[in-house]
């Protein structure tokens, strides 16, 4: 009697297996950098070319690093979300301008607004490699000790901010105080 159900059970198992496998997004590669110290930035600023942006400036604060470029179409949609975020929250938002030209990046910011406190200028993508960047835009949450706690691959939206990133920032800020 039980034997008759074996094919059905195998079929259900296969369906479950495929349902899980096919609903995963292969573009989202888990970053090995989560819960590891953030790699060094040490890049010149976009506006103040003689000044550097470094991670050690940010120690003691929870901050966000947003990787963007003027050639990135998805960044345009994300930019409004970032503008609203920086108006409503007092969390340092650092930009990493990835493989861009200074002129294009500045034009973009004067057109769309500048939500960033500082912007690091990574012309040849060296910092991008060190941070494991492969799909712009990406956003990292870094804690007070300079450890990466979260990485968002692809554009931020209000839902991700409200459900994931802002609760995480609150939790990290509370843990320290």
């Amino acid at each position: 009697m039980l034997k008759r159900f074996i094919p059905l059970l195998i079929f259900i198992g296969l369906v479950a297996f495929l349902a899980i496998g096919l609903s995963l997004d292969p573009k989202k590669v888990p970053s090995p950098l989560i819960n590891k110290p953030a790699p060094a930035l040490n890049l010149p600023q976009l506006f103040n070319e003689s000044e550097l942006v470094t991670n050690s400036d940010m120690l003691g604060e929870v901050w966000l690093l947003n990787v963007w470029a003027s050639w990135c179409a998805a960044c345009r949609a994300e930019h409004q979300v970032l503008n609203a975020f920086s108006n409503n929250h007092h969390v340092p938002l650092i930009g990493l301008n990835y493989k861009d030209s200074r002129a294009n990046a500045k034009q973009w910011l004067s057109d769309l607004g500048n939500p960033y406190q500082k912007i690091a200028f990574d012309m040849d993508g060296i910092a991008g490699i060190n941070w494991g960047v492969y799909g712009v835009p990406e956003t990292f949450v870094i804690d007070q000790q300079g450890v990466i706690r979260y990485k968002q691959i692809g554009p931020l939206n209000d839902e991700i901010l409200e459900k994931t990133i802002i609760p995480l920032i609150n939790k990290l800020q509370k843990a320290a105080s």
Binding site: P26, K27, V29, P30, S31, P32, L33, P39, K99, D124, G125, G128, I129, N130, W131, G132, Y134, G135
Partner: protein, 142 residues
């Protein structure tokens, strides 16, 4: 006709060679060149996920090839460079995933499925033989 085939065959050989060298790098030893070529063959491009670094034309693949070239030129070993890449991009960057807990199903799975299939095949053959034998014996009885 034969000559035409030969020509076509030779042309495909050239296509292969052009395909695998996008930039031209010069190495100070053949050994370094070999390491570099192995690396760009075995490392995956994360933007176009079904291509290796050698085949991909994306910006990231170019950057990673440049990084691999610089590291090879500086005398780093293949293991060091592979580790450098996996520290930043994870095991996904490797075309051949390492054998560890999370990849256990990946490596063992096919063998387990093969054993189950072999067992199913043998038991079904056995059953049909039994059926055949019992049929025969009933036929002999009558």
């Amino acid at each position: 006709m034969k000559a035409l085939f030969l020509l076509c065959f030779c042309l495909t050989l050239f296509a292969q060679a052009a395909f695998s060298s996008i930039e031209s790098h010069s190495f100070d030893s053949a050994e370094k060149e070999k390491i570099y070529l192995e690396l760009v063959d075995e490392l995956r491009c994360l933007v176009c996920q079904n291509q290796n670094l050698a085949a991909s034309n994306s910006g990231l693949a170019k950057d990673l090839r440049r990084q691999a070239f610089q590291m090879v030129s500086a005398g780093q070993t293949k293991e060091q460079i592979t580790q450098y890449m996996t520290e930043r991009y994870g095991d996904f960057v490797l075309y051949e995933p390492p054998f560890k807990k999370v990849t256990l199903v990946l490596w063992i799975g096919p063998f387990v499925i093969f054993i189950i299939a072999a067992w199913a095949l043998f038991s079904s053959i056995k059953n049909s033989q039994k059926l055949l034998n019992s049929k025969k014996s009933t036929e002999e009885d009558t």
